[in-house]
């Protein structure tokens, strides 16, 4: 009998969990901002993925004929840059770079930051003190200064942008995670897991992490947006990926010298960055609204 009730209890709980989960997903689907955000992000992801098979010019090939008049034409739909390279192609290949580097950087920063926050929040004591003080120092740095100093000294490359993003954002992620863990660690199910004799690693990964999930996913979306802006800024400051890699920030920088003649050359990559960042920000906003307890 007792076995039976226990079983039906578990089943009921599993069923209600499933309903809650389904409700969360329908709320996302019904949220207009989330869907618009998702649409913009998907558009750029598809463009980036399909870049090699789309009928595009090579992003580094120079069309000398177009250099005299780089405005849009039948052959170059969005015109060319000052070196006669096809803007549409550079835009789409630039999306590949940005959509690879930004999520990769944020993923690494999330792993480091969540680890820091978990350790600090779960263990407390001197571990918490050391991690928190270290984070305070990094967070006291203005973020952009940190990026400029790091990249100017270690040089621009994908790996170095990932390293700089991790150093700059991991403390912030750690602080959020720490706060969430502090709120969760005195819950009964954590005590139960500890009594069952589960390892600390199990408690962190299986009991704590899934409960921090929604906040961290929203934060990651926002951070991807910020990282895209940062990569753009680094490119604009001349600290972007080395040429001839197409890089949106670099495209804006190269074309601002001729802004008063051919403004479209700068406007196109500017709009591209704004749209992609907006996509991630709308997605984050929609998810936050949908997952609100």
């Amino acid at each position: 009998m007792s076995v039976l009730t226990e079983q039906s209890g578990t089943e009921a709980r599993a069923a209600s969990a499933k309903i809650i989960k389904r409700r969360q997903w329908t709320r996302i689907l019904r949220s207009r901002t989330a869907m618009i955000g998702l649409f913009i992000v998907t558009f750029w992801v598809l463009a980036a993925l399909l870049a090699p098979i789309l009928p595009l010019y090579s992003p580094t090939e120079q069309d000398v004929m177009a250099m005299a008049d780089p405005t849009p034409s039948a052959t170059h739909w969005l015109g060319t840059d000052i070196l006669g390279r096809d803007q549409l192609s550079r835009l789409i290949f630039g999306a590949r770079t940005v959509l690879m580097v930004a999520p990769l950087s944020v993923a690494v920063a999330m792993i480091v930051g969540i680890t820091m926050g978990m350790l600090a929040g779960y263990y407390g004591g001197w571990i918490d003190a050391v991690i928190s003080r270290f984070s305070d120092v990094i967070l006291a740095f203005p973020v952009l200064v940190l990026y400029v100093i790091l990249i100017a000294n270690i040089g621009p490359s994908i790996i170095n942008i990932v390293i700089a993003t991790t150093i700059a954002s991991a403390p912030g992620i750690g602080r959020i995670t720490r706060g969430l863990v502090l709120g969760l660690k005195h819950q009964e199910y954590i005590a139960a897991a500890r009594l069952r004799g589960e390892s600390t690693l199990f408690i962190m990964l299986v009991e704590l992490l899934p409960n921090c999930r929604s906040m961290l996913i929203v934060d990651a979306c926002l951070r991807i947006g910020y990282t895209i802006i940062t990569i753009g800024i680094l490119g604009f400051l001349g600290l972007g990926l080395p040429p001839p890699n197409p890089d949106w920030g670099g495209m804006v920088k190269e074309s601002t010298t001729v802004l008063n003649v051919w403004p479209l050359m700068s406007l196109v990559p500017s709009f591209a960055i704004v749209s992609l960042v907006l996509g991630f920000n709308l997605l984050a906003d929609g998810l936050r609204e949908a997952w609100k307890p």
Partner: protein, 337 residues
């Protein structure tokens, strides 16, 4: 209270020392660069080696950091100003005084001669932007927080999110295209001299606008969240039920409580405005602090980088401290505990 203040001041000092050491470690990872940077690219390797030796630039990192700190505190004279280096670097203030940031190898001037003017220019730019960001973000945040999910909230939120998604260089391009090229109303550069025929105020319009566009939406979002939290409180419901008008409820009950948490966020924008202005200053050729820091970082001018970092971190920890104090003053629950 006294122990609290002493503790906070000590923490601030420790943070500044740690930050300056981190920057030193990153910039000075390759020793000897100081000599090369001081002599310029055309000096021979022998000259560089000789200067490296004289400056003891091959010493371990910690020793060199100690020497830098000694110069800053006025304990030892600046080695770059020693006549035996043959560099002719002289500081009218002398080689040994408190607050000696050393000699800028980029500008060939004492850092103290360069950095404060630049900081002043940036303070003008950032101050004007801050004066606009505060009221704009409060209006946006409070109005959209009044009724969560309402049509006003949704539209204002979309506007704020859109504006925060525009990086400074992009809004710079948009605004210059609109107001300089298509409709020549304002100057496209802001060098802060009137030689171009544009008045100083007209030169400030676009840079300030770029900063406001990028920053106010974020602050508005923070105020919105806080406002929503306050509007759900029982005392607001009581005020509404006893028949107060919306205006009375908002101004008399909600606003002050809703501003407690965003107060810190607003103060944090000062940090952003002091050093996050690099891009804006670059777009408009504005002679500010951010661009000095960028140029110094690209050139490897360690003395200027260190001075600028120390100043920005000092501003950051100070605003944090003021934030905590203001928090106590705004919220009697914390003050009276």
């Amino acid at each position: 209270m006294a122990t609290f203040l002493a503790k906070r001041l000590a923490m601030m000092l420790v943070t500044m020392v740690a930050a300056s050491f981190l920057v030193f470690a990153v910039c000075e990872f390759t020793p000897g660069s100081v000599a090369r940077k001081s002599l310029g690219p055309f000096a021979t390797q022998e000259q560089v080696d000789l200067l490296t030796q004289k400056l003891k630039a091959d010493d371990p990192l910690l020793v060199r950091y100690g020497r830098w700190a000694g110069v800053l505190l006025g304990i030892i004279p600046d080695p770059l100003q020693d006549p035996s280096t043959g560099l002719n670097f002289t500081d009218p203030r002398g080689a040994r005084y408190f607050g000696n940031f050393g000699y800028s190898t980029l500008n060939k001037l004492p850092v103290n001669d360069v950095i404060w003017d630049r900081l002043g220019n940036t303070a003008i730019l950032g101050g004007l932007a801050f004066l606009l960001i505060v009221p704009l973000s409060i209006i946006f945040g409070v109005l959209s927080g009044l009724k969560e999910g309402g049509i006003l909230d949704r539209s204002l939120s979309v506007v704020s999110i859109t504006f925060t998604s525009i990086p400074e260089f992009a809004s710079g391009v948009f605004l210059v295209t609109l107001f300089v090229i298509l409709w020549p109303l304002l100057p496209g550069t802001s060098p802060l001299d009137t030689g171009s025929g544009w008045s100083i105020p007209s030169q400030l319009v676009l840079p300030v606008a770029v900063l406001v566009i990028y920053d106010f939406g974020y602050v508005a979002r923070m105020i919105r969240v806080s406002m929503i939290g306050v509007m759900e409180k029982p005392y607001i419901r009581t005020a509404v039920l006893k028949g107060m008008s919306t205006r009375q409820v908002v101004l008399g009950h909600a606003l002050r409580n809703a501003m407690i948490a965003p107060f810190t966020v607003l103060l944090l924008q000062i940090n952003f405005l002091i050093s996050g202005v690099v891009v804006t200053e670059l777009v408009f050729a504005y002679p500010g602090f951010g661009r000095l820091l960028l140029d110094a970082s690209l050139f490897g001018d360690i003395a200027t980088i260190e001075a600028a970092t120390l100043i920005t971190v000092a501003i950051a920890v100070t605003t944090q401290f003021i934030g905590d104090l203001g928090y106590m003053l705004l919220d009697p629950r914390i003050r009276l505990r």
